[in-house]
Each structure stands twice: as structure tokens, then as C-alpha cells.
Amino acid sequence: MSSKILVIISAILLAFLLGIPVNAHVVSEKEWLNDPHDHGDAKIVFVKAYQFGFAIKAIQDGSKIIVYPEGSEPSVLEVEEGDRIVFRVISGDVTHGFYIDGYTPTAVGDNRIVIEPGKIVEVGPITFNKPGKIKLRCSVTCGPLHPFMVSDIIVKPNIFFYILMASTFTIAGLTLLYTSRAPENRMLGVSLDKDLDLLKVRVIGPILKRFLQWRGAHFTLILPNLLIFMVVLAAGFFGNPTGNKNFSIAVVWILWFAAVEFLILFGSRTWCTICPLPAFGEWIARRRIYSVHNPRKWTSLGKKWPKSLNNMWVSALSFLGISLIVPWLVTRPVVTGLLFALLIAIPLFTHIIFDPQRNFCRSICPANGYIGYHSNASIFAVRSRDKSVCDKHRPKECIRGSPTGYGCPWKIYPGGHNENTYCGQCYECLRSCPLDNMTLKLRMIGQDLAKIAAKAKNKFDEAWMGFIRFTLAVFYELVFFGPYFWIKDWGNMGIIYGANLATIGLLTPSLEGLNNWFKWALIVAGVALVGYPAVFYGFSWLAKKLAGENGISTRQLFLSFSYALVPYGLFLWLAFAFSLILVNWAYPITAFSDPLGWGWNIFGTKFEWNPISPEVLPYLQAPLLLIGLALAINTTYNIARELLNDHAKAFRATLVMGILHTMAGLVFVWIVAG
């Protein structure tokens, strides 16, 4: 018996130690570039797919062939309308797919074009008959950065790009024309004084009110997300190491990331209503999940929260920090798992050590900063019906709490506030107010923005939040959907492996990888923290000069005008969210049925990756951008009007800032369509 075990052990050792090549067939460059077929008048484009990009190695037109040397391959393929192209594709490493928006068949099942290593695959001839910019994408999961494996094809003349540029100028011009006619307290023609008391709307109002005043409402809304959150942790640590097959990545960084932008626009901080992160801390400190408990009996050391943290600096910088590792965060489940574990641990401590309010949410949470910042461009707000009632009502239950509701955990005065920034929409004030004076309002985008901006003294934190978000929208678009592989690779530190907890060691970067990452971090942080703010400051200075205003400092103009990025940034992110969800919708839906990426199919919602009309994406993104631009210019005017109290001066300042916003818009247009 023992000899038999020995035989087996040695056999195993042998099998594992000897790495006998199983499939050594590699396509030689010669074999590949030497094209024996007759393709008529079609051009031949030699593409090498690699982790994680497409390199155009050579282009053959008739008997003429241009071979691009290593390192100087074009990132973008340019063809003329009507060109017939044959792609000769090989893989430089593992198996990839090949999918061109609007030209190759759907990427489902056997229709998929597969590029297996060692084989030459011919695609086409394809006749490029629709001018515009489209994307070449990988359609077979080939590693962690697979969803980012995209390249651009421009079918010239790129008329759509010219149209879009012209529209950008037109919209900017029209908006300026509109503001030149001194529209007071209006946003794109809609009065900013009008709003709708949602709780007074027939049928819906009373139902909504009953629900929100019910003590269990908050808990009920958090619970499903708590469950989802736990699945995120489980999948992040133990699930499939490849991001797009893992719940933690698919649901957080595709579904949530996109959905939250829409939530902001339509529901302000609605995400924070249903967010499970601070729930444990809050429940433990209060010693209640459901009912109201006297604050004197809470479990908390009650230390004073440091004053220096009462701003969104940490939130803003942690959002930037997260963005610096975004190529890892959104592709490696374990990185997301660790981040989320941290995000649930910190509020636990802050609640138990400091006064048990939403201090974590107000100052630390990386999502807080931008959700709060942009929520001032939301059409939704929690407000008092009549402020004078609040002012006269001394007990102030909305601050101090009552037997029916807690005093505001976000440490604001709900009855008197007129900005959304720090209103976490827990609706405790709806429950505590004995006069029924609190309600939900629908209003025009940016109702309070001009006043908030004009009053912003020294609010550098919010200004920089705006710059960070605005510039990062561009970087995200470039990293997720841009053709420039080096940007992704620098951020990714050149690592080709996915990772869960067991394989976290695979993420050890090389020295060169680290070096590249520093370069990438420097570029991103430099543009977000220094570059764009500096340009913005320059324009503010010009605006002041042109307005001929001496009573107000450039600094104040700079701070106040930065609030135009509240709607502008939000709409850029909406544009980004659109492409994220329309291209990758299949991943999150599948993840609900197979959260760990282990081949389960619990709810029967398994779908293959198959983008929804990706060729029209730029047409959907463009209007969002243009709306954002118009809002930015109009907001600038309103702010200037509030600050300078003079139409002519305000208009001239708006003109200067409008030029900057138009230029920024053109950059985005160029990225999505140019």
C-alpha cells in the first residue's frame, strides 16, 4: 500500500514540475504579415490583441505596406468613409475577442469573434459606411482589465464631431444671449422661485408622507442594501478574481456608480437615505434600530469631533485617492472588498468614540463629498414649508429630537437650511417636527446655488471638490473607454492578474509598475488639484477685470464661480454613467444570479456581454454635456448677479467664464467623438 502511495506522489510531482509545452504554436511575424489571400481592393489592417489593448501593427493598401515599429503603433485607426477593410488579427498573449460597434455581429455565443493565441483570424471585409467615431472592443473576458480593452476607429469625415463642436458653440452662444437679457432668478427660462410641495400632491403625497413618517422607513430602506453590501464583501474576498464576473465589481462599480449619478439628479442625497455603511455605528451607538432612544443613554464616549474636520476636504481627497487606484479598484474584487470593509469599520469607531452623529458621513466618506456637492443641482430637496414658522418655534425638535424622531443626525438645522450639501435625507425631521412644517420639494436645478455660491467664504474644500470631480470625469472617460493604453497601464501598474483574498499576492507591483503609477498619479492629481484650478483662477481674474469690479476680490469670484461646476460636473458624470451602463449592463444583472462568479444561476438572469447600440452612445452623451454647459453658464450668471448686483457687470463676467466652460466642453466632445 505505501509503495503505491509513493508511486502516486512521484507521478504528481512529475506532472507538476515538468512544464512540458502543450501548445507551443506561436504565429511568427512573417507568417502573419505575409498575407496570401486576395482581398481585392480592401485594405488589410494587422491588429495584435494583447492584455489589455489592440495594437495596429501594420496597414497594407494594395502592394504598399506600412509596418509600425514596436512602441509607435497608432492608438486610433483612421479610415475613410467607404473603405473596405480586412482585419488580420492575432493575439500576443491569451485568448481575446474582437467586436466593432455597429459592424460585427452581436457578441453573443458562437457569433463572437474569438482570437485564440497561435491562430490568425481574419475579420471582414468590413465596409465602413457610417462616418463617425466607433470603438473596437474585446468581447471575450481576458483578465481584470478586459472591460477597458477598447480602441478607437474613426471613419472620416467625422461629421458628427464637427456638428457636435458647432453645437457646443451654439449652445454656449445661445445661453449667453439668454443671460444678456438679464433673466432674474431664472434657470434656462424656468423660474427659480417655483417649487412643488411633494407631500401635498394628490394620492402620492399622503402615501409618501405616511411611509416616511413611519419609524421603520429608514431601516426598511437600508436593509436590502445591507444584504447587498454583505454579498459585496463575500464576493470581494472569496469570489471570482476576475472583476467583471464578480458581484462586488459588477454591482458596485457598474450599477451603483452609474445609478448614483442619476439618484443625485432626481433625488439629491437619496443614496445616503439607503446607504448601509454608517448603519452599524448608528444602531450600536443609539442602541436602537427602529425606535427613538434618549441621547443620554447612548453607547458612545461622546468625544468632540475635531473642528478641523468640519468640511469636505477629507471626502474630496479620499475620492481623488480612490480615483488614483481606480484601475485596480474597479477590476480587482479584493481591493473593493478591503475598501468596503474599511468604510464600514471607520463609522463604527466614529460613532462610538465621538458624538454619535453622522460625522463620518459629513467629513470622511469618499462618496459624501461629491454626492453632497452635486446634490445642490438636484431637482429634489428636503425643506421647511414656511421658514418663519421654524424661526418662531422655540423647542426646535428637528435639532433636539422628540419622542417621535431624532434630532438631525447630520448636525444641521433642517427647518432653516436651504442647501442640500449636508442633508442626508434620513427624514428624522419629518418625524420629529410637531408642526408638520417639513416637506419634500421638487424644484428647478440649482435653485439655491447662486445664494450658496455667493455666501461661500473660504469654502476652498467645496471648490476643490468641484475641480476634482470635473477633471476626473474626463479621466474616467479616458481610462474606461479611451484608446490610450498607456494611461490605463500606468494606473494599473502593469499587472495582468485579477485577485481575491487568496491571490492578493499577485497584485505585488514591480518597480517599474510603481514608477509608472507615480507618473499617472502625478498627472491626475496635478490636473485636478493644481492645473484646472489655476486655469479657473486665471479666468476669474479676467472676469473681474472685464466686469470692472473692484469691490470684490478675485479670490471670492473664483470660489463663487466654481459652483458652476455643480451642475456641469454632474452632467458630465451622467454622460459617463450612460456609457458605463449601456455597454456593460449584462455584468451586474448576471452578478445577481451568480454573485461569486462560480457558475451559479440563482435567479436565472445570466446574460452575455452585449452592448446596447454602442454606436449611438456619443449621440446620447452629447445632449447631456450640452445641458451641463448651458446650466454652467446660466449658473455663473446667477452667481455673478448675486455677487455683483449689476446686470452689465455680471454679464461680462459670465462671458469670460463661459469661454472657459465652452473650452472644457470641447475637450469632452473631443474625447467622446473626436
Binding site: T95, T141, L233, Y290, T503
Partner: protein
């Protein structure tokens, strides 16, 4: 709210919270939730690059005379699967794809299986064995 009411509601809420927290143990449910494993005598081999563990499991023991069904599931990138000595070749297995075969272990011995498609720098080491043991 009365004391009793508070205890009741808080207890109920706490139960629900505890229930959702147990979702963290989801990985333990593989045997129940994996449609493949519901069938008798099925072994699921998960294929991922060797750097991340290779075939899991990579050592499979079966009793002589047993009939087993083996499902190979692609995890990260496209792999292949072959057992030369049994004449099994499943071709390419894309991530998320599953391919299966059945075999009757009528001869004692060690059967080596390998990945057939270049999948990572350590692809050549991506192997495993099926050991057929006598009684």
C-alpha cells in the same frame, strides 16, 4: 411606544439585520446553489491561471469502477482542457463557460490533465491529476 412594543420591534429588526449579515457566508453555499453540483457524482474543476492556483481542485481521487461526471468551468481567461491518456479534449473554455465529460474509471492509475490554450506566463504548469484508486 410601550416597552413591549419596543422590545418586539427592536427584536424583529435585529433579527433581520443578523439574517442579512449572514450573507457573508455565501461562499459556503456552493454545494447547494451550484446547479452542477446537484447531480450525483459530479466534480467541478474551476480553471484559472496557474499564478492564481491553476485547476481547482487539481488532485482528484476516484474509486475504481466509479462513473463520474467532470465539469470544467472557466473563471478568468480562456483555458483548455485535455486528458491525453483518456482521449478527452474539451477545446476552449471561455470564462463563464462550462464543459463536461463523463468517464468510467475502470483502470487504476494516474491521469494527467492539462490546459491547452496559452493563458498566462505560467500556462505550461497548469496541470492536474485524476487518481483512480483500487479498493
Amino acid at each position: 411606544m410601550s416597552r413591549k412594543g419596543i422590545v418586539l420591534f427592536e427584536g424583529l429588526a435585529l433579527m433581520l439585520v443578523v439574517l442579512s449579515v449572514t450573507a457573508i457566508f455565501l461562499p459556503m453555499w456552493d454545494d447547494v446553489l451550484n446547479p452542477e453540483k446537484k447531480e450525483p457524482k459530479t466534480i467541478v474543476i474551476r480553471a484559472q491561471v496557474k499564478e492564481a492556483g491553476g485547476f481547482e481542485p487539481s488532485v482528484i481521487k476516484v474509486k475504481k469502477g466509479e462513473k463520474v461526471r467532470i465539469v470544467v468551468e472557466g473563471m478568468d481567461v480562456t483555458h483548455g482542457f485535455t486528458i491525453k491518456s483518456l482521449g478527452v479534449d474539451l477545446g476552449e473554455i471561455k470564462p463563464g463557460e462550462k464543459k463536461a465529460f463523463e468517464f468510467v474509471a475502470d483502470k487504476e492509475g494516474v491521469y494527467v490533465f492539462k490546459c491547452t490554450i496559452m493563458c498566462s506566463p505560467m500556462h505550461n504548469f497548469m496541470k492536474g491529476v485524476i487518481i483512480v484508486e483500487g479498493e
